[in-house]
Chain length 151, copies 2
């Protein structure tokens, strides 16, 4: 079974985004092993560096690491589904997806990632980005299982 870990920085403040995420997590229950790791959003000096350290510690060895980056590669939903399927075939035990805080991710973290994924050239709040990513992961699974949902 597909093993996904989404590492995010910062708690979801808005109740509606929390409920939206919960909904996609629920839908994915029977489709994959999904963990969401929510790290503390730091503040002050060296914010990104402190967050980077916590992110790195949350990445298990042997994982394929993908960072969400506005300047990353734009994929269609079908291409994302294919990339997930390929990565699993290549023998990665787990795909780890990284969503930064309101300031994004430290360069160090981006360099650790084997792939930079962009959902949009537009800047979205990181909380909304989490909803968007979970919806796309759910959609990718429905595409790879050949199930109805994606049009």
């Amino acid at each position: 079974m597909l093993n996904l870990r989404v590492i995010c920085v910062g708690k979801l403040k808005e109740k509606f985004y929390k409920e939206a995420c919960d909904e996609y997590v629920k839908r994915m229950k029977s489709l994959c092993q999904l963990e969401i790791i929510e790290l503390k959003e730091e503040s002050g000096d060296h914010k990104l560096e402190k967050e980077a350290e916590a992110i790195m510690s949350a990445i298990p060895p042997g994982s394929a690491v993908w960072a969400l980056e506005i300047e990353g590669k734009l994929l269609s939903s079908e291409e994302l589904a294919e990339k997930i399927a390929e990565t699993t075939v290549m023998g990665a035990s787990r795909i780890v997806l990284l969503i930064g805080s309101s300031e994004g991710l430290a360069d160090k973290v981006k360099k650790t990632a084997s792939f930079g994924l962009s959902m949009s050239r537009m800047t979205f709040p990181h909380h909304l980005a989490r909803v968007m990513l979970l919806e796309q992961l759910y959609r990718a699974m429905m595409i790879n299982e050949g199930r109805k949902y994606h049009k």
Copy 2:
């Protein structure tokens, strides 16, 4: 004051998406005149044509019409803000943004639009797309007013 009309097809089913939209509408209250027109989602034969007719009737004369299309032009948030500012300067009394139903928009509607805007190459549910668009409109206004929000 900027005059925006968002024409959408279909009622928001998920409470959390409704609440998210309400939040951005509330935030835009003092920044622009925003109307959201929610048209009935049709079914059966000629679904898109029936929806097209209702959409066309909801577009006031003299409006700049932009259609949300996956294959449209990808803009950054800054570019969207600039395009809104330019369009207003060009003398359009109103910008009308069109979001289709789960089947998208009829070609006829796309042809009516002077601009096809794409938020992503990924397919999102049209309800989530409405949240994403409202957040981007709010962000564009904050950018154009030089206010803090966008990073």
